[in-house]
């Protein structure tokens, strides 16, 4: 069936609530309203106040009570209304949620899912468009994942709920309304795998969440210019799927990471650093990062200038030092023999 990302997530929650009586869903406005993004639409009506309910506005308490529930056999799925409103829960997430299994020598695992709508592009005023993935991904004990479309939205949320460990489930806000075919209850790839969304032999774009569609668009534009771009959707930010990513970059020899968050100390730094460690002698150019500027997320009228778009990605590709020794790629899916029209076309120097 065709569903939007928000609907696919809703469907995932619904199926999980149906199949497992230990699942509970709560957070701010997730009850009768169905959440500000309607991801929990209809759940209270169908499952009752005992299974899906509104919490008082206290994010630390929400995560704290979820930890307690999980200590005693439930599988809570809680929502932080917007990413910046997850910060009050930071201590509970970092000092308890992430560490309980380790602290207790494996005796108390915490199967908690913290859903965090993240990223911008929705015209939100301040604090409504943060990208907080780097904070979570750096925290050992957390599994951090993000779907970039409805099919993965369904599948990954089901898998996240089934996981015996805490998951930070990052939902790209601006893709909530994007639609696609969802094969629920069938699953897509495993939760911890990156997936090649488009094959190409010249350069690898590494994207996740909100930037995956942008990367695919950029790949399409580059294709027209004769450059075969491979697009990898990382999906699992922690743990990182080295196998898939390294194989791709070793094949193409060039890579660009794309994300919305500020570039400095962002998740792209980890990707660039580890890809370079693992592919150094395959690289024709440094792994470049296309991310947000190192500024607080801009107001609605300026956000388009901040968000990495197709042009900025193409510009980065163009700077991958094609001049020296570039030979047209012949990988499956990539246009062979056309030569690097792109850099020439986009650079006047």
């Amino acid at each position: 069936m065709e569903l939007s990302l928000a609907q696919a997530l809703n469907r995932a929650l619904r199926d999980a609530l149906r199949e497992d009586p230990d699942v509970v869903v709560y957070g701010e406005d997730v009850g009768p309203l169905g959440g500000v993004f309607r991801v929990t639409d209809g759940l209270t009506a169908e499952f009752g106040e005992e299974r899906c309910f509104d919490a008082p506005i206290a994010e630390s308490g929400i995560v704290g009570t979820a930890i307690g529930m999980a200590m005693n056999g439930l599988r809570p799925v809680v929502e932080m209304q917007f990413d910046a409103f997850g910060y009050p829960a930071f201590q509970q997430v970092v000092s308890h949620l992430a560490k309980m299994r380790n602290r207790t020598m494996g005796r108390l695992g915490l199967p908690v899912v913290v859903r965090v709508p993240y990223g911008g592009g929705i015209g939100g005023v301040e604090h409504h468009s943060d990208s907080s993935e780097a904070y979570y991904a750096h925290t050992p004990g957390l599994t951090v994942v993000t779907p970039a479309g409805p099919a993965d939205g369904y599948s990954m949320l089901r898998d996240a709920i089934a996981l015996p460990d805490p998951v930070i489930f990052l939902e790209p806000k601006r893709l909530y309304w994007s639609k696609a075919e969802v094969g629920a209850p069938a699953r897509t790839e495993a939760l911890d795998r990156a997936v090649v969304r488009r094959a190409g032999s010249d350069v690898t774009l590494l994207a996740y969440g909100p930037t995956v569609p942008t990367a695919l668009e950029a790949a399409e534009a580059a294709h027209a210019d004769g450059c075969a771009v491979e697009v990898v959707d990382l999906r699992s930010l922690a743990p990182f799927d080295d196998a898939t990513v390294t194989a791709s970059v070793r094949r193409t020899g060039r890579a660009v990471v794309v994300h919305e968050a500020s570039t400095f100390g962002g998740y792209g730094a980890e990707v660039a650093a580890r890809v370079t460690e693992q592919c150094f002698h395959y690289l024709e150019a440094p792994v470049l990062r296309v991310g947000g500027f190192d500024i607080p997320y801009p107001p609605p009228k300026l956000e388009h200038l901040h968000l990495p778009g197709v042009d900025r990605i193409l510009d980065a590709i163009a700077r991958l030092q094609w001049e020296s020794g570039w030979t047209p790629g012949a990988a499956p899916g990539g246009p062979a023999g056309a030569g690097p029209a792109l850099p020439a076309a986009r650079s006047t120097s």
């Binding site: 506005i57 990062r289 500024i295």
Partner: protein, 393 residues
């Protein structure tokens, strides 16, 4: 920080669940109230500010529906709180408003267009906080309450007679930050008044899901400060209670929590869908408690305003609305370079470089030094040859 505790014990008794009221629903004076009523001029000022404030609010709501504001959280029905609170402040005092409190800012004298900067999506805040003694409108719930405590602490250190009024919602009281701020205020004996606008709803969640306390004013007890409940649709009562609390605060008697009982008649914002969580029936009785009608009735009955005065107020509201419409029509886009100008007092090299990238992009020029480029973030002294060197190796 030792606390100078000379507060009369009586101020620490359990608050009464019955809100303080000065004017009844038909505009009659309520006898025996524990606070003195504002003088006639003040009552007239309150009415005027409510009338103008509501007109502003209606205009902003319309602009939001037309898509000319990114979002608008209305305070329709809460004008008595917005205005009663703001007008009780002395010029040197500070107001700490939330996203909901545009009308209080307008009442305090901030340029209405600057008030809308945030919601129009031009910038995160449009007015000069120091000039207006108004903090920026705060979105992360309850987080500005401790700012007010710190600000008045600084004022006292400098020997300034400054009090602060913090506006917060019923929902915000559930946050840990509310607790910490109340506690700091009480311990430091800070001249801060916390005005909780209990508008019965936090987006879709009714106040009975935020607290099991008899009233939100009861929270004060746990900090050793007085808690008071007031009729939040009675501008005279809100003004009188806030005024008294500010006076107590100023003379070293410490902070107060005031719970104003009111109602959010509109949706949470223009993008909310209240039919999902509440019946229209529920709001009906509140419409009858309209704060403007009530004060109008009193002032009319007591001969303090006449038709001409009322017409002048309405007229002033129209002028302001027209001005807002007109000035918002001039849709100048904010300057893209402002993105980089104010992150730090001086622009670090790396940010200057990002600004240059954006500048080039906007000029449609070749992208000579974009984000993530080799050399991005490089200080000026190294930048010269960096790009060429890299090419040549």
């Amino acid at each position: 920080m030792e606390r100078i505790d000379d507060r009369p014990e009586a101020r620490l008794a359990l608050p009464s669940a019955e809100p303080i009221r000065l004017v009844d629903r038909s505009g009659g004076r309520v006898p025996g109230a524990p606070v003195p009523a504002p003088d006639p001029q003040t009552l007239a000022r309150l009415l005027r500010a409510m009338v103008v404030g509501r007109r502003f609010d209606r205009q902003a709501g319309a602009l939001a529906r037309q898509g000319r504001l990114a979002v608008y959280p209305s305070s329709f029905g809460q004008e008595a709180c917005q205005v009663g609170g703001a007008l009780a402040l002395a010029p040197a005092d500070w107001l700490f408003p939330t996203y909901r409190d545009c009308v209080s800012l307008v009442a305090r004298g901030v340029d209405p267009v600057e008030v809308l900067t945030l919601l129009r999506g031009d910038w995160h805040s449009g007015y000069d906080p120091e000039r207006h003694r108004c903090a920026t409108q705060c979105t992360p719930l309850a987080t500005n309450a401790s700012h007010a405590v710190g600000l008045t602490y600084a004022a006292r250190r400098k020997g300034e007679d400054v009090a602060a009024l913090v506006l917060m919602g019923d929902g915000a009281t559930s946050e840990g930050d509310a607790h910490e701020a109340y506690n700091f205020a009480a311990l430091w004996n800070a001249p801060v008044v916390f005005l909780i606008q209990n508008n019965q709803w936090a987006i879709s969640v009714p106040v009975r899901k935020q607290s099991a306390a008899p009233t939100l004013a009861h929270k004060a007890i746990g900090y050793g400060m007085p808690g008071v409940r007031v009729d939040g649709n009675d501008a005279a009562a809100v003004h009188a209670v806030v005024d008294q609390a500010l006076a107590e605060a100023r003379c070293g008697h410490g902070p107060t929590i005031i719970e104003a009982m009111t109602y959010r008649l509109d949706p949470h914002t223009n993008s909310d869908a209240p039919q999902r969580y509440r019946d229209d029936d529920e709001s009906e009785p509140w419409r009858e408690r309209d704060p403007i009608d009530r004060l109008t009735a009193l002032l009319r009955a007591e001969g303090m305003v006449d038709d001409a005065a009322l017409a002048a107020m309405a007229e002033e509201g129209e002028r302001l609305a027209a001005q807002v419409r007109d000035r918002l029509a001039e849709d100048e886009a904010p300057d893209p370079e402002s993105l980089f100008a104010h992150v730090y007092a001086t622009v670090p090299h790396a940010l200057a470089r990002q600004r240059a990238t954006l500048r080039d992009e906007l000029r449609g020029e070749p992208d000579e030094g974009p984000l993530g480029e080799p050399g991005a973030g490089l200080p000026a002294e190294l930048r010269g040859g960096a790009h060429d060197e890299l090419k040549e190796v």
